[in-house]
Symmetry: C2
Subunit: 376 residues, 2 copies
């Protein structure tokens, strides 16, 4: 019984974690619930219910499917869904009437329509594999296939097909509009802001890692635990590519807000991201040396001082760059640190030229850091 | 006009590329089209149409939404969709009857039902942020929210609610069954096979990169172009984490097939993947040295021979490991190469101890390669 209680507490703690990491997730959940409850008013209020042709189901479905976390993602998805619905409805109607007028009612007509559906579905499914389309319009193509099939297939019900198509377009647009309004007006979550924070946080993590590495490698650390976690911080930077790219993709959809304007250089963020990953790679290789650096103590003593200094200065300047990105100010504060670390690097180089090969990687950080600096 | 033609040709070539990279994509498209056309028979044949309560739309929607590329992904999605539909239908019906029996028809009942929907939707949306759920059951939770809303909301139509729920469950299961049959019987695409090939291909790419690096760094290369692309091969390995994890996730769903059985060690593939990414990181750092290695030519001459040898042997053994993974045989073929590269590495070490610091990273590859080897 106690184990059961302990397990339940564990599960509850896990449930609490996402909200602790990012409280906006809680807000997002309430936003979704709010908009769905509002939409369900279409069911409760008889007048609205009749307005939407007794079938407001698609409004609810649309709201649920379109409710993405950030504004940019929402707009991208809404655009996809809206455009795809209109195009597919038009094409589906066209196909249906074409077949109907030429050979209506015959079995040949059904076969022809089936062939048409086969060809179009196969083409669209295949198109989804094209990388450029997959990145941006994957959802749109899915909706296109769906709507096309629903509209073009004849039903034996005595309803007007044009009516079905029209109603589908109207309900979907109502749903889309609903969620766009809620997501922009009620505590909006911007993908651009996320990207901005992610990049600056990654810079800081790298700074932490480099400092942690210097301490760890040359054994001046006391608080072991916190250092280890600092040293591991770079690992999340290594795998940040997909997140950054999708955020940048969404950020381009967002209207101007806060300190950002249209034409904010999102591509620059991606470039910084690439450099950061290279830098994280270097740190990863450096940690590979951790064990091997523990043996030759006479050489170590010679470089120890400089190496600690260099890792400290590099880490410091990376962190200062991170702050300056965060505040979108020119990175003057980092200048002295970079100057210092360059000087220390020169020192180290001259020491190394006298015949050592330990810790060489360290000053390979400097060029990359400088490039990062130049990009700002 | 000519520019227009040239552009069209360019677009056509881009369209051809996915099929060239992986012809199974073409087959997948045809499979989807085939199953949808088959399902649309429910519309054309009047008897079937009546059977499914005049609304086979949801079968088509299900087939389209559930049609994933690999069998594993399909089964995972079908399981999610099926289970979520049943649970949500039950809960939705329960909620509706509860509210209906206590305070049916009153405005209070509507408000109470609205509150219930609000709470459940908010909880479910929030749950989707928990990492473990997001990785495996994200789609299931989405379907749960959808079905719950549709079933629990009262409609003013004179239909039995139980009937709606029952029909929804039946149509969705028909659609799911349809696609599962097509995807397993007609030229199945296994995620496990993909993962298997991906890992062995990544190993080979790393081998290529290391060999390319050796040639490039010490300037014995003639065919510049092909070497450059070899050298860049490791880059795709760096970003393979997400793909590998999702493939391994799907592979666990797949029934036994081909050379694989239940309990195939998918987790081992992920471990190899992590080691491969570390190795790719090392290569990435090595390429950073490419420019700096071009200057000091007297030291270079001393190590040149050994370095070329070491990169060749390492590359060769990586490639042989790749072949042995591909064929699932013990990696005996790689043994001599690994022995050789170890010997060469020892040579290099002794050279380096006489006071050089160029190219030190090279023999850092050996331990990692050996670990990869031990894992098999």
């Amino acid at each position: 019984w106690q184990r059961f209680v302990a397990k339940m507490v564990g599960v509850m703690l896990q449930l609490k974690k996402p909200a602790q990491d990012d409280p906006r997730r809680l807000i997002h959940s309430f936003k979704v619930a709010l908009s769905i409850t509002t939409v369900s008013a279409f069911y409760f209020v008889k007048y609205l219910f009749v307005c939407f042709d007794k079938n407001p189901m698609w409004i609810i479905i649309t709201v649920i499917l379109v409710s993405e976390f950030s504004v940019g993602a929402t707009l991208a998805k809404c655009f996809n869904r809206g455009l795809a619905t209109v195009l597919a409805s038009a094409l589906g109607l066209g196909c249906y009437y074409l077949v109907d007028s030429i050979m209506g009612g015959h079995i040949v007509g059904s076969v022809f329509l089936g062939t048409l559906i086969f060809v179009i579905v196969a083409t669209m499914t295949y198109m989804r594999f094209v990388p450029q389309i997959k990145a941006k319009y994957d959802y749109g193509f899915l909706v296109f296939i769906l709507t096309f099939c629903i509209v073009s297939l004849p039903s034996y019900r005595d309803e007007d097909l044009l009516d079905i198509a029209k109603r589908r377009v109207i309900t979907i647009f109502t749903g889309v509009l609903m969620w766009i309004l809620v997501s922009i007006i009620v505590y909006p979550i911007w993908a651009g802001e996320d990207l901005h924070n992610l990049v600056s946080k990654n810079l800081q993590k790298l700074g932490d890692s480099i400092q942690g590495f210097g301490d760890e490698c040359f054994g001046t650390s006391e608080g072991e635990g916190s250092n280890k976690s600092n040293l591991q911080a770079y690992k999340s930077v290594l795998n940040s590519k997909q997140i950054e790219e999708s955020l940048a993709n969404f950020a381009r959809w967002e209207p101007c807000h806060g300190p950002f304007r249209y034409g904010h250089p999102w591509k620059q963020y991606l470039k910084i991201g690439i450099l950061l990953r290279q830098c994280a790679c270097l740190i990863d290789s450096l940690t590979g040396f951790l064990d091997s650096t523990k043996t030759p103590s006479e050489i170590k003593n010679k470089v120890q001082e400089t190496c600690i200094q260099i890792s400290k200065e590099t880490g410091k300047s990376l962190k200062e760059l991170s702050v300056s990105i965060q505040k979108t100010i020119p990175p003057c504060a980092a200048n002295p640190s970079i100057q210092k670390s360059k000087i220390v690097a020169m020192n180290l180089k001259s020491i190394l030229k006298s015949g050592l090969w330990e810790g060489t990687n360290l000053f390979e950080d400097i060029p990359i850091m400088t490039v990062t600096y130049l990009l700002l």
